[in-house]
């Protein structure tokens, strides 16, 4: 019996009925299994909820905080669709942060929301709502990080993101995942764009044991556009798992997606994406690109880019590749006198640069380059060890 009962939900502050109803629905539902297509390849069957109890992440907010509230008065704000039981669980136990940008307002500086997670057996449920009014503009960066010295803690993070972009609103969002090496994260992200709005949903995932994000970007208003970019880099025994949906529900809408990942050691990654173009979405353009680098023997990468198109006035493409570092690029660098391990590094960093340059990360971008580079160093060292071991 897990600790995520309606009674436990009742103890949380605010909207008791709302929480209890969600917890009841969760209790009545079954946990998903990899037999379901949307959970295929995942490690969901290894999740043991009884090892966790509801907790709270310590959340700090930096940047222009005028529009941020941590206690929204209206639970209806969270009455979004729940794509799976984890979104339902989040509803029962969530700690909300609501960003409401008034019409016409341009928030120049990014709002940075940082969730620090600590304590073995803790499950946390951050929920971020970005409600951008007509013709407003906002950039939000959400960081999930393990508290200092708690990297080995076994925690569970179940975040939900809701983005609502009203007419002509511009929303940029970046999630940075650097949770502890034993932490599980199962997230849901949803965005809805009204007429002529623009949304960017970006993700950088480096941490965690099993990290999954399901991102659904719906274009509900004519002329709206959305873009999803992600960088993921899994090492050791990590698994990074992404499910994306680009849902074109209005004419003349545009979507683009670029997911680039690397796997090393015995890590695994999954990318499955769907472009859905509904019958009335004429004049639509949708693109989807997934590229994977396999850096070690024993690493796995799955890539399943799907299309479901119900009308003909569209331009739609997807591309997906899985492979090792390009030998010719490596050869070129080596022929210029660059040592093999540095050449490999440069190629990987160059591979990720395409994503990093598109992130709404500002000053954080250099930091992220550094993190990727450090993670590469770790494998570099391991390889070096192997080499010295072999020669000894």
């Amino acid at each position: 019996m897990s600790a995520f009962t309606p009674d436990a939900a009742r103890e949380r502050a605010g909207w008791t009925d709302f929480r209890v109803a969600a917890a009841e629905r969760f209790a009545a539902a079954e946990l998903p299994s990899p037999d379901e297509e949307i959970w295929r390849y995942s490690r969901i069957d290894q999740l043991d909820l009884s090892r966790f109890v509801p907790g709270i992440a310590s959340t700090s907010i930096e940047g222009p905080t005028d529009f941020v509230s941590e206690s929204a008065d209206d639970p209806e704000l969270f009455a979004d669709e729940t794509p799976d039981v984890f979104a339902e669980l989040n509803r029962a136990f969530m700690t909300p942060v609501v960003i409401r940008v008034p019409a016409g307002k341009i928030v120049a500086e990014p709002i940075v929301v940082t969730h620090t997670i600590s304590g073995s057996g803790t499950a946390v449920f951050p929920r971020l709502v970005i409600d951008a009014g007509e013709d407003s503009e906002v950039t939000v960066i959400e960081v999930f990080v393990a508290a200092d010295g708690t990297d080995g803690d076994e925690a569970l993070v179940v975040p939900v993101l809701q983005v609502h972009a009203a007419q002509a609103a511009r929303v940029k969002y970046l999630a940075v995942n650097e949770v502890g090496s034993q932490t599980w994260q199962i997230g849901n992200q949803q965005s809805v764009g009204q007429r002529d709005s623009t949304t960017l949903l970006a993700t950088v995932t480096l941490g965690g044991d099993y990290v999954r994000a399901r991102t659904e970007a719906r274009l509900s208003g004519q002329g709206s556009s959305t873009k999803q970019v992600a960088l993921y880099f899994a090492g050791d025994n990590q698994m990074h798992d992404f499910r994306t949906i680009q849902d074109h529900d209005a004419p003349k809408t545009t979507s683009d997606l670029l997911f680039k990942g690397a796997v090393q050691d015995t890590a695994a990654s999954v990318y499955t994406g769907l472009i859905k173009i509904r019958k009335h979405a004429h004049g639509t353009q949708a693109d989807q690109t997934n590229r994977n680098l396999t850096l070690s023997e024993g690493a796995w990468a799955e890539s399943v880019p799907n299309l479901d198109i119900e009308t003909n006035d569209v331009k739609c493409s997807h591309a997906s590749t899985v492979g090792p570092i390009d030998e010719e690029q490596r050869f070129y660098l080596e022929s210029r006198g660059v040592r093999p391990e540095i050449a490999e590094r440069l190629v990987v960093l160059g591979f990720f640069e395409e994503v990093i340059s598109q992130l709404p990360a500002g000053a954080l971008a250099d930091d992220l380059r550094e993190r990727v580079s450090t993670k590469l160093d770790l494998t570099g060292t391991r390889k070096q060890d192997k080499l010295t071991g072999a020669s000894a």
């Binding site: 396999t294 299309l307 003909n312 569209v314 739609c316 997807h318 997906s320 590749t321």
Partner: protein
């Protein structure tokens, strides 16, 4: 091993030729054309399992849907651990001839070998107005022009066929296109 697959008839087709590449250096190729007209659903594709080193495979799928027909590409490329130097390329293009027709693509890729190069690409579109306009400006009827464009679209596959079959194919497509107004 080369498999050329054409699906024109039947109400519902579900066909996925599978090629297991178990010997070193083996090559598999599936070329498939599907046409779905009114009330038809062509659910076709291919499976390529790379179970040995230096195996290569190629899948080319071209599908056309019209009058509410549904075409689906459903395929799997799997590279087992140890299948070093495996290479695979998948290309699936879909042409949707009217606004009632549907096209879906479900390509699965499961890669367990570092030293494998796998690529997939797909495009879905309608017949470009420019192409249609060009041909009609040369005096072809709309119907003839569309038939010609569709034949050009599947040309990469028909050209691999022996002459007699190729001619038959292109006649068949023309026949299917008859009475269409775009």
């Amino acid at each position: 091993m080369e498999w050329i697959d054409g699906n024109i008839g039947s109400k519902l087709t579900m066909k996925y030729p599978a090629v297991y590449l178990v010997g070193e250096g083996a090559t598999g190729e599936v070329l498939s054309v599907a046409y779905a007209g009114e009330g038809q659903h062509q659910d076709a594709g291919a499976k390529m399992v790379h179970a040995a080193p230096n195996t290569t495979s190629k899948i080319v799928s071209k599908s056309i849907s019209k009058d509410g027909g549904i075409t689906t590409y459903r395929g799997l490329v799997r590279v087992d651990e140890g299948a070093k130097g495996a290479k695979s390329h998948v290309e699936c293009d879909a042409l949707i001839l009217d606004e009632h027709s549907i096209s879906k693509t479900f390509p699965y890729m499961e890669i367990g070998e570092r030293d494998a190069q796998i690529g997939h690409e797909a495009t879905v579109s309608k017949i470009a107005d420019e192409q249609l306009f060009y041909l009609m400006s040369r005096g072809l009827s709309e119907e003839q022009a569309m038939g010609m464009i569709v034949n050009g679209f599947i040309e990469p596959i028909t050209k691999t066929l022996p002459m007699e079959y190729a001619v038959e194919w292109s006649r068949l497509i023309e026949l299917q296109m008859e009475g269409s107004v775009g």
